[in-house]
């Protein structure tokens, strides 16, 4: 009789060879520099990181910064909803929380940038973890409802806690913006410097998440998403992973909210509504549910969409009779309403026609390109 005790973690007896196969398969996916094309891609990205803020001007540069900031929160939401399967409409609550944390810690108290950014992340993470009891007890539709409740309760707090949020009218948010003696807040260079700082953050968060996803916790999250009972039977500590996913997602949201409000310099509670929830969910659906790259691509599309719409309307003559700038200006539909409709239509189209989003399409193109280069 063998005396080896059965593994307490799982009833599957992985032999070393299958482990090695798995590891090889997984490592291959994060092979950043293995192929000549990837060297080119990495160099291209570095050049783009340095050059884009110099090349872009005016509003396009601002848009580029907004996309980076939104991408950080979108990656967090995608981890929670796309990878762990916990659909949440509560993101604006955490983003707003980050904004006011930046206002207080970085502005009112005047603490330096690394401190207030860390404070935003910590606060978001802590409150996110505190929603843990709901994440554990509730599933699917019930959880969605609680996250909606979070948005409304957050709005109420933001509207009424005037000493922190400035009340309904909002407040200026001017935290310290110097880092290592380098002032990001310098009005003439602010956009450019923010662009240089924000995008490496996107890269760090993105690579970190890719790493988490391809290792044990990532696969555990996906098991929970696909079927949580089965995951539990397989020995995954569902409670721990669900709370961790919530905490991490809220942490990134609050971090992004702090950056955003510091960049804009102002925040009012009207920003942290369900409209924002929809935008973030649209980002991950259009970009690709469960994909880190998808979060970034989706952020780019959804953040650009309102401005692209405005630009297109500006080019086409006589749109004023159909689309008016403000509600009730005589047009059939206001720009805001039109953009909402576009969000809705985009979500429907992607969910029904391309449920894996733009990142899957991009990934397919890239693989084809690699094969062609390798083949020639």
């Amino acid at each position: 009789m063998s005396t080896t005790p059965p593994s307490s973690r799982s009833w599957v007896d992985w032999t070393d060879s299958t482990r090695a196969i798995h590891r090889a398969a997984i490592v291959h996916r994060l092979d950043l520099l293995g192929h000549p094309l990837r060297w080119l891609l990495m160099i291209g990205l570095l050049v783009a990181w340095f050059a884009l803020p110099l090349v872009l001007t005016g509003f396009l540069l601002k848009l580029y910064v907004y996309i980076g900031i939104a991408a950080i929160a979108a990656m967090g939401l995608n981890l929670l909803s796309g990878n762990a399967g916990q659909v949440s409409l509560g993101h604006p609550f955490f983003i707003g929380m980050g904004a006011y944390c930046a206002a207080v810690v970085g502005g009112d108290w005047g603490l330096p940038l690394p401190v207030w950014l860390a404070a935003c992340a910590l606060l978001g993470g802590a409150v996110g973890a505190a929603t843990g009891p709901f994440a554990l007890r509730l599933r699917g539709n019930y959880l969605v409802m609680v996250t909606i409740a979070l948005v409304f309760i957050g709005l109420h707090i933001f509207n009424n806690w005037s000493s922190v949020t400035g009340g309904v009218g909002g407040r200026a948010i001017t935290p310290t913006l110097a880092i290592l003696g380098w002032d990001m807040g310098d009005p003439t260079l602010k956009d450019r410097r923010f662009a240089w700082v924000v995008w490496p953050m996107v890269a760090v968060v993105g690579l970190g998440l890719v790493n988490i996803l391809r290792s044990r916790p990532g696969r555990a999250l996906q098991a929970i998403r696909d079927r949580d009972l089965t995951a539990e039977v397989l020995g995954i500590d569902i409670a721990r992973y669900k709370v961790a996913a919530f905490a991490m997602s809220s942490m990134l949201a609050a971090f992004s909210g702090g950056l955003y409000s510091a960049y804009v310099g102002f925040a009012s509670p009207a920003e942290w509504t369900l409209v924002l929830s929809i935008q973030y969910l649209a980002m991950i659906i259009v970009g690709g549910v469960g994909s880190v790259l998808g979060s970034i691509v989706g952020a780019a599309v959804i953040i650009s969409l309102p401005h692209a719409t405005q630009a297109i309307l500006g080019v086409i003559p006589n749109t004023g009779r159909i689309v008016s700038q403000m509600p009730g200006d005589g047009g059939l539909i206001s720009v805001f309403a039109l953009i909402q409709v576009l969000f809705g239509v985009l979500i429907v189209i992607f969910l029904t026609v391309a449920p894996r989003g733009l990142s899957a399409l991009l990934g397919g193109l890239w693989r084809r390109l690699e094969q062609r280069v390798r083949g020639s």
Partner: protein, 298 residues
Amino acid sequence: MIDFFQILFAGFAQGTMYALIAIGFVIVYKATGVLNFTTGGLLMFGAYLAHHAVGGWGLHFGLALLLGAFATGGVGILVQTLVLSRMAGKPHFTLIMLTWAVLIVLEQIPPAIWGYDVLTMGDPWGISMTSIGPLSVFTIDLWAVLLAVAIVVALYLFFRFSRLGIAMRATAIDREAAMAQGISPNTVFNTAWCLAGAVAGVAGIFLGGGARVVSPELSLIALAAIPAVIVGGLESPAGAVLGGVLIGIAEVLTAYYVPVYAPWLGKNFHLVMPYIVLIAILLVRPYGLLGTRSVRRG
């Protein structure tokens, strides 16, 4: 004390409207498994159309009510046919996001037609009061309660005795077995969406009548009915009624008493009250008051 009972009645009337919406919800959820967030958009159609029927076409309010209900039911069928019919069996996430997406499209349509200004319903009662014993209540609230009770009874009879109603109950219990018995899924789904739309339309008309107004905000009011259905339990029509009334009373009592006794809770605290009740109840009963406790083996 009389004040208290009058407010209680107002809350009850508001609650019955929530209950109607919540029942529509439960019907759709049971028949199709979809958590129907489009309700806010549907409800606006009923309210705006009734406004137009009375104010624009000069129809009798009763006719406008019928028209609003039918039209909203039609919009419900349209949503089901165009968007959701092919998505059966998809994950929660997909279905929830689809209904949200449809909602944000739907809720832009009535303002595009009728404008963003605040409109009146043109109901025959306006702000007139009726006295019941020592109480004096808004006439429209009284009608709302009576109508809601009539609709709930009618729905009960429909599900209890009509062929289609029984077919729908069978589908709710076991879809595949029901299909095997020759029940057409499309008929069942369309009926569910039509009923949900129609009751939402009626609720919308009463939520915009009396001293209240028709405006794009109506869509947000419907969101408060969703806590009602969750509080009651997603699978339970009786829970929907209970949850609706509970939420309505909690909301109206809060609106009246918080500014007097607890102003530190902030302005418009009653608007978050449904969500606080929701969270409190879900912490104790994660499947709602009368919902089915999901069986967990493991």
